[in-house]
């Protein structure tokens, strides 16, 4: 069966201007229990690659520069 991808609005937002992933920081990617954050090959900044979020907050709480914001996933907002 062929696969299609479908759109989803992700709860975790990263402010590229504040993110220092390009300087070697991997804190948010490291701490995520669901392993849904990645560092982009194009921008070298962190982003949410998979919409599988427990809205638990370590990524936001541990980010050294305050670049990460966790929102409540739309379906349960």
């Amino acid at each position: 069966m062929p696969l299609a991808s479908y759109q989803t609005s992700v709860p975790v937002v990263v402010d590229d201007a504040k993110c220092i992933a390009d300087k070697g920081c991997t804190v948010c990617v490291d701490v995520c229990p669901l392993d849904v954050l990645r560092i982009s090959d194009m921008t070298n900044k962190a982003y949410m690659a998979y919409d599988e979020c427990w809205y638990c907050m370590p990524c936001e709480a541990d980010c050294p520069t305050g670049a990460v914001t966790v929102n409540i996933p739309y379906l349960l907002r």
């Binding site: 220092i20 300087k23 920081c25 520069t65």
Partner: protein, 325 residues
């Protein structure tokens, strides 16, 4: 395949990384040192307290929170006096984690610092150290113009549980700040001496409801609390139900028989919480006079009230049976 285990060689190139031109890169290096758990990291971190970048210093303050002992304390006290509030706040949080009493002598000089935030942070970190040398400076800090500093000083003194501090704590009953009065009342709980209980009792008449609530609760913890039974009975007519509730609970704990009627008169209160505590207290006291009041709430709409009433009636029945036997 690389090693599947977390590395324990974090310090290998630490110095080089800590000198990176980019402050963000220095931050990343500092985070790694904090996570290393290696006591040797403290020295490297201590070298960074004067970094020109406030974000870097903030990160150093957070990383030092992973360590305990005089070396970490020496570095953190420098960051607590940092002009940038984000740095000082991170340092204060990290210092609050200390457990090693040897940190006390390094922190003590800051209790007299010009800035209230520094004095507060220093006192806050001294509490858990429970070190007798901190008593005198903490007693002096009770005169601090800043109320938040006085609250922290009370904690330092209260944690030490020394009878000699009672007069100073008692004097705070007239403090203009309600938070200070509330903390002072709580800190008196440990004292075996009657004056402490008398002070707590006076606080039942405080202008602030939270102080009165704390006084009512603390009398239940104090060994001489039952001397204030009449005043606690008086508190059963306090305008705030949350105060009355604590008074009921303390009277129940102390098993004050002459409180049965006044507690019984609370049994019809609108607040189910209060009815429930009244029922429970009547059970603890277990005096037969409680039965009539408990009968009133036997069919209360609130199951928790009914449950406590049933339990209370059982206690009274058991006591009657014992008396009969």
């Amino acid at each position: 395949m690389s090693s599947p285990f977390e590395s324990y060689d974090d310090l290998e190139d630490a110095d080089e990384r800590l000198q990176a031109a980019d402050p963000a890169e220095r931050r990343v290096a500092i985070i790694a040192l904090g996570h290393s758990g290696d006591p040797a990291a403290v020295g490297h971190l201590a070298n960074m307290v004067a970094d020109p970048d406030a974000g870097v210093r903030q990160q150093v303050a957070m990383a030092l929170g992973e360590f305990d002992g005089p070396e970490a304390a020496s570095a953190l006290v420098k960051l607590l006096v940092d002009p940038e509030r984000i740095v000082a706040a991170a340092a204060a949080d990290s210092m609050a984690e200390f457990k090693d009493p040897a940190c006390a002598e390094i922190i003590l000089p800051l209790v007299g610092h010009a800035h209230a935030f520094v004095r507060m942070g220093a006192l806050r970190s001294l509490k858990e150290l429970r070190c007798k040398d901190t008593l005198k400076p903490a007693l002096e800090a009770l005169q601090d113009p800043d109320a938040a500093v006085r609250v922290q000083a009370i904690g330092v003194i209260g944690f030490l549980k020394l009878e000699e501090s009672i007069p100073a704590l008692t004097a705070l009953i007239n403090d203009p700040d309600a938070h200070v009065r509330r903390a002072a009342v709580s800190a008196l709980a440990f004292s075996q001496m009657k004056p402490a209980a008398e002070t707590i009792t006076r606080a039942l008449k405080d202008a602030d409801w939270m102080v009165r609530e704390m006084a009512a609760e603390t009398l239940g913890l104090n060994v001489n609390g039952s001397l204030a039974a009449d005043q606690l009975v008086g508190a059963l007519t306090d305008e705030f139900w949350q105060v009355r509730l604590k008074a009921i609970r303390s009277l129940g704990k102390m098993k004050i028989e002459r409180a049965v009627r006044p507690i019984g008169h609370c049994i019809n209160h609108d607040q189910a919480n209060l009815r429930k505590e009244a029922a429970a207290a009547l059970g603890e006291i277990a005096h037969p006079d409680g039965e009539a009041f408990l009968a009133v709430i036997a069919d209360d709409a609130d199951p928790d009230v009914r449950k406590n009433a049933r339990w209370a009636l059982q206690q009274i029945a058991a006591r009657k049976a014992r008396a009969g036997a």
